[in-house]
Symmetry: D2
Subunit: 304 residues, 4 copies
């Protein structure tokens, strides 16, 4: 019984066609299927049917974030623990969305909608599983390997973090605390997959999305991503730099609806016994933007 | 109850002082402690007391490979499963080695000695866990982040692989099979930590060690490693290249006792539901050395 | 008869000891000699005695920029052409500065002091010229290969550019013009050495220095430079990005006196027949900061 | 009056169509024009009409190597010096080849055919010279920036080197000498363009070609080149490594006719006063292949 990874995110976009063009040509995802007002996309190195769902809506932001569990039976076990924690929960029946099985959907203490799922059509990576080459031909744009993590904002970081560690048995790689250490103002949460984070929470208004991050392999890929963004006249939020938190290399920018995206590379490896790293709030500038060492105005403001 | 990672390896070296000089200056590990005929070393980005033990002996090779389990109670549970599988097993009492707790030690179907352990002194990484910088000053040599994996040879790859999946609940990222698919001639096994492999088995004589691999972050680090090896007149086995299997970037070389070492970077991420990749034996050249696409003579011969 | 490269720059610094610490530990130059109020420094991959002279003064900025000519006899030839152009010129006798021969010194149309020299003590690079290794041990900080270029501001860019092309027989790799193409507001000037620029002029107040740039090999070296700057709490001006002009990868920061420094990597190769590239002023943001595509406030203001 | 660079090479290929497919899809050059039995190709970052001419023939190898001079008048001046040196020389009239002006053609002491030319149609780079992006869309294969250098073999390295320094006023970046220093067995020759070499001569049979090298920007581009070669089943000669001589990063492989190609990155900068580096023959292994530190059998044998 375990959460394996953040497997999917459904985000709201304003102009579906424009967003599909952006996510397939600039980000370089592959369109898999469409249904009424929804487009299903996947990254070339993912083996499940889709990882990003674009939902046409009047305002940008997060519809839900979804974590894939190891076994179908885990859904019922987590359901009990989630309800005991006090979250309102409902079942999402098979077929609600294309290529997916049943899921459970609940609201976090921060107001975000989360789903746990197991069944999803397996389509395999672009390189395949038979004497594969290391990367496929025909890649477009930034061509990230996968959906890597989401960052969300919320008022009570302590409680939402406790939910992920106690109910979903996930772990905290890094936390930002008030200088007196009393209260968490940021937490970076990972499953048993060696990643620095699958989801991060940052002190801010509930229910808001800070960014959706896609994984690229290295610092040259971050440069290539930034070049591609300029060639496509995409608006930057933060030009290439390194995070103090996770050590990862990064660049932030906005999709056509104003949802912040990130191309993220490298970072350290985590395990269940990884000693949680603490950042004190006075050092948050260096934690988030290791070089600039100051938060940009947009960091706290540009939320969807 | 889970295996977290390959946490330690104890290898036999012929000249202890020469080996310590090599592993601390060329590889760039840190000497932690010494006991009679043993030196305990760790990599700067590891948080446990040591990951490599050098044991002075008359012949090079592997003393044992050790996997860290998540909870102390897991030792007893695995003990039962290991014995049911038919391996001879004994307890290694606390204090047998410096800074370690109790461990269980058993022999694999391939004759290699394996230990499972939980308790080991926590010393923390060189960068620490309080507003840390991304890398520390004062690094020497290749300065890998961690002990990454070991590759061992054995006659019956199918059985030893079955042991790791059924008894230790680990997973197979890639396997090399005879062209008819009947028999495994190579298997790459990982724990729930996102790594392409924690241990690999390659068809060959039982009880032998193929290589000990240390993790570096990227392809430029592999170039730096190769430059450092030449500056220190270390004998190469394979100059910088890419593996088809794991996609990782690599260079192979020998320690003063003839144990093969590897500097390994990148590679894809794995999960429990990662679809095992198959390489057929006719493509083993491209699987092991993706550019050269042929096995070197030394590949099958240089074993310790 | 030819200018080979920008070989030296003498800059004014406020606190000599603090500046020496910065340029030897953070930048990673080597202190060669000292004389009254002056410290002579060189980069590891340069073969002449020094390339940067720190002069203790009450205000930061440029004392002079110096170009090395191919033959001693060239000094007299250039002297005639320089005086014909209308610049006031004087001879700097041998011994005025440590390890240097005679030089000629004159004032540019933009008010900057320039010297041409040939003789300077040859000390050789840190790697030497006998079966050399690709890089030396014992490097500190950013450890750039060389002083690469300076950027200066001036009112009349057309005239100063004409001086460099007509009198010094150098070439223009890129120019920024007013949208109507009438007037140059930036020009990037190179000698016959394949570099994108040895000196650049940007529209602004006469006699001012915009930055001194040091060459690093690649984009990972720019990341390492930025990390080192943060580890040493150095104030950034621009975090890692790419220039549209020269395509080079860069990061800007300030020395303790407020002189802007740059770590610059890569860029294209130039020849005498390189077709000058034109940037129109409306695109100057993308020309200078290819990703951000806007000039920072400090760009035009932070001059010394 | 100066040689600017090695601007063109005409090589013999056995199967024109197969070679064009290789040089346009695997190397990634662009086909410009065709004439009877010849195909003219250029790299995306070159501004002249072509840099590589494929000539259909019964045996592979070099037809001629051509250096571009700065002014049309230089041809006559060099003509005199070349004849004084004792080389047989003839004029190649305008129109002999597509898009080229007049050239002079002569035979080196090593029996290779060389041309000097000035006029060639200017087509500009793929990125253009007006507010250009750093790299173009639609690149294929290795997509090198330019033809970088050729390496040729010959018996009398001293004499051919003296020709290049005395007659063509080029310079020697590195030389390999017999251990007693009496005789050159290798020399690396550059024009005033900052490159480590435009042409190299290695002791071996006269008139033979060792390799044609194309410039890529960095070590990740060398990895990408090697991956592309494996994806196209191209036969390697040397997998990614570093040269001691020039410090450049490299990989060697063969075109369909057996002509050796190289993808070459980085290297140091040269000037007319660059102190020539000496390698003694006992260290030639480390000079040519800095990591392996031994010459491969094919190094001296695989000549066309
Ligand atoms: Ca827990
Ligand atoms: Ca299992
Ligand atoms: Ca001129
Ligand atoms: Ca000469
Ligand atoms: Fe992020
Ligand atoms: Fe390995
Ligand atoms: Fe600059
Ligand atoms: Fe070469």
């Amino acid at each position: 019984m375990a959460i394996m990874r953040v497997g999917k995110a459904e985000i709201r976009v304003m102009d579906l066609e424009e967003s599909v063009k952006y996510y397939t040509n600039v980000i370089g995802l592959e369109e898999m299927r469409r249904s009424e007002g929804r487009v299903y996309l996947k990254a070339w190195d993912e083996f499940d049917h889709h990882s990003l769902i674009l939902q046409e809506a009047d305002s940008p932001g997060l519809d839900h974030i979804a974590f894939k569990v190891e076994n179908e039976e885990d859904l019922a076990k987590y359901e009990k623990k989630i309800e005991q924690f006090g979250c309102t929960l409902k079942r999402v029946s098979k077929g609600t969305r294309i290529a997916e099985g049943e899921a459970i959907r609940f609201e976090l203490p921060t107001g975000h909608q989360v789903e746990l799922y197991h069944k999803i059509e397996r389509v395999g990576t672009k390189t395949g599983d038979w004497n594969p080459h290391p990367w496929p031909d025909g890649l477009r744009g930034i061509a990230p390997h996968r959906l890597d993590h989401l960052a969300l904002t919320g008022d009570d970081i302590d409680t939402v973090t406790r939910f992920f560690t106690e109910v979903l048995d996930m772990f905290v790689s890094e936390k930002i605390t008030t200088v007196d250490g009393e209260q968490m103002v940021g937490s970076f949460i990972y499953a048993r997959n060696g990643k620095p984070h699958d989801v991060a929470f940052i002190k801010g208004p509930d229910k808001k999305m800070h960014h959706v991050a896609f994984y690229v392999d290295n610092w040259y890929d971050v440069l290539k991503a930034a070049d591609i963004l300029s060639k496509n006249n995409v608006q930057f939020d933060v030009t290439p730099t390194r995070h103090g938190i996770t050590r990862g290399q990064t660049t932030y920018f906005f999709d056509p609806s104003g949802n912040r995206n990130e191309a993220f590379a490298s970072g350290y490896i985590t395990y269940p016994d990884f000693p949680t790293i603490t950042w004190t709030e006075d050092k948050i500038g260096q934690g988030i933007f290791y070089h600039r060492r100051e938060l940009t105005e947009s960091f706290a403001k540009a939320l969807t």
